[in-house]
Symmetry: C2
Subunit: 147 residues, 2 copies
């Protein structure tokens, strides 16, 4: 499903993780990442939510960051995505985390309308930044870490 | 310094964390969050980087997410921010993480120019979303989690 979602997001070539990577990180101690799957009555997998704990210095607590939310085409429009989001919201409330966060592609209008309908805010004043690949190695090469 | 940065970001009223929250989460086992401080030759604290491990399903690994990067006014323009970023980049490279990520406020032109200069990309196609407060509790209230 990770690959199906990346394909939908027009980024399949960016997926380098294998099943073994995911297995190792889901079942590490402590886990690097958590997942919920939604199962249809006939046992087929309808969708998934992959998430991890992030942190806010303003709140001084963990929060839940939703890395991937995916509903398979056969099951769309049946409330599966909402059910997965409600499950994560309940985890937040149970544990005293005040934020459930994720990123959305700007062209994904149907997703954005859905997120607005459940009370999510688009944090359009914040822009994600990333250093990766050669730029990351170049940056790292300028210092020996003692951290 | 968390409060000084929030003040600069015009969001001081959003800081509800106390020193005790930060102490507890920095020194938890495993820690919820990590920090580096930059110290001047005379022992004064010049700046800090607060960061945690996030995760990518595309890479199948942890990455470093930089929650707060802050340099005190007296020490700006002296390369402290770059030194902190290079330290985190070196942690990424040492551990095989291919991404160092953070968010920037869209009006913070000086920060954005600096990040561009070290090879960071602005991921302007991704928009952060958040459910918080009453909306989060409302969403959670619609299901009993079994996750």
């Amino acid at each position: 499903m990770v690959r199906e979602l990346a394909d939908y997001e027009r980024a399949l070539t960016e997926v380098v993780a294998t099943e073994e990577h995911l297995r190792r990180t889901l079942f590490a101690e402590p886990p690097a990442v958590f997942g919920h799957v939604a199962e249809a009555a006939d046992g087929r997998l309808a969708g998934m939510a992959v998430w991890f704990l992030n942190y806010s210095t303003w709140l001084g607590t963990h929060n839940v960051y939703l890395e991937d939310l995916y509903v398979r085409p056969d099951f769309r429009g049946a409330g599966v995505g909402g059910q997965l989001l409600r499950t994560l919201a309940a985890i937040c409330v149970d544990r005293g985390y005040d934020r459930l966060e994720w990123w959305v592609l700007d062209w994904n209008e149907s997703a954005r309308a859905f997120y607005a309908s459940i009370g999510a805010q688009a944090l359009t004043e914040w822009i994600p930044y990333r250093v990766t690949g050669a730029a990351l190695r170049r940056l790292a090469g300028e210092v020996v870490t003692s951290g």
